[in-house]
């Protein structure tokens, strides 16, 4: 099993874990964290192919940096949204936020 395979397997596993978190956890915060985890899995793919891929181009590395930055922004906004939702509904269960009326 080559390191590349290992990386891809890990990223796949992480992705699925995050997906599960997104799908079955009721708490909005955990869902957001799951999304973060999925993003990380994607980053891992980029790095893996940058390192073990067919050479050429640091684009993978650079892209990971950008994706981390954007992930941070996404987390900040997401948490802010969670807080705002909580102020409205007094709850952060996603199932409760099923109406468009605020």
């Amino acid at each position: 099993m080559s390191p590349l395979h290992l990386c891809l397997a890990l990223s796949a596993a992480l992705f699925c874990t995050g997906l599960v978190a997104v799908l079955i956890r009721g708490n909005a915060i955990l869902v957001l964290l799951g999304v973060e985890l999925m993003l990380n899995a994607a980053n891992l793919n980029f790095l893996a192919f940058w390192r073990f891929g067919p050479g050429g181009g640091e684009a993978g590395l650079v892209f990971v940096l950008f994706s981390i930055a954007v992930a941070a922004a996404e987390a900040a906004v997401g948490m802010a949204l969670v807080i705002a939702v909580h102020r409205h509904l007094r709850s952060i269960r996603i199932a409760d936020a099923n109406r468009l009326k605020g």
Partner: protein, 168 residues
């Protein structure tokens, strides 16, 4: 090399799985942090020093803080134990996730990847030149996005009267 990577992979996968499964909100948040740290270590082993440290800094220093802060601001109740997910949702979710998992696994094992020599890690200065050179526009855009996100976060999380709580 591979063994080291494997160990690190386990170190970063175990807490992630645990984080998804435990019922205590704070615990799972902290476990997520642990998973991210493990991932940072994995990056380090991959030779991506800068990315690894950036990962640690952003996720452990930033995202986890925000997440924990949100948790504290929106305490469900006396205890942080969450109600167990409803059976239907759990089953459906697991089914869907397993589908994806099988897909990924199949594509992984059926596709024969040529195992190549690892390319040499690039010196930090080169990375800096890349960011300041060809990727400059992207860097500026990301900075813009971050600023907007910060302001938007403030506006969203601020109480109706922006006079107070505008900071923090």
């Amino acid at each position: 090399m591979t063994t080291l990577l494997a160990v690190l992979a386990l170190i970063c996968l175990a807490p992630a799985v645990a984080a998804v499964l435990v019922r205590n909100l704070i615990h799972s948040a902290l476990l997520f942090v642990l998973a991210w740290l493990g991932l940072a270590a994995f990056y380090l082993a991959l030779g991506a020093e800068f990315v690894a440290f950036a990962q640690a800094l952003v996720y452990v220093g930033g995202v986890s803080m925000v997440a924990l802060f949100a948790v504290l601001l929106t305490r469900p109740g006396r205890t942080d134990l969450l109600p167990p997910p409803s059976a239907a949702r759990a089953v459906g979710g697991l089914a869907a996730a397993s589908l994806v998992a099988s897909m990924l696994a199949s594509s992984l094992f059926w596709s024969r990847l040529p195992s190549m020599e690892p390319t040499a890690p690039i010196p930090l200065r080169r990375l800096g030149e890349l960011l300041a050179g060809p990727y400059l526009v992207a860097v500026l855009l990301v900075g813009l996005i971050l600023t907007v996100a910060l302001i938007g976060g403030l506006l969203l999380a601020a109480p109706r009267r922006p006079a107070e709580g505008g900071d923090a």
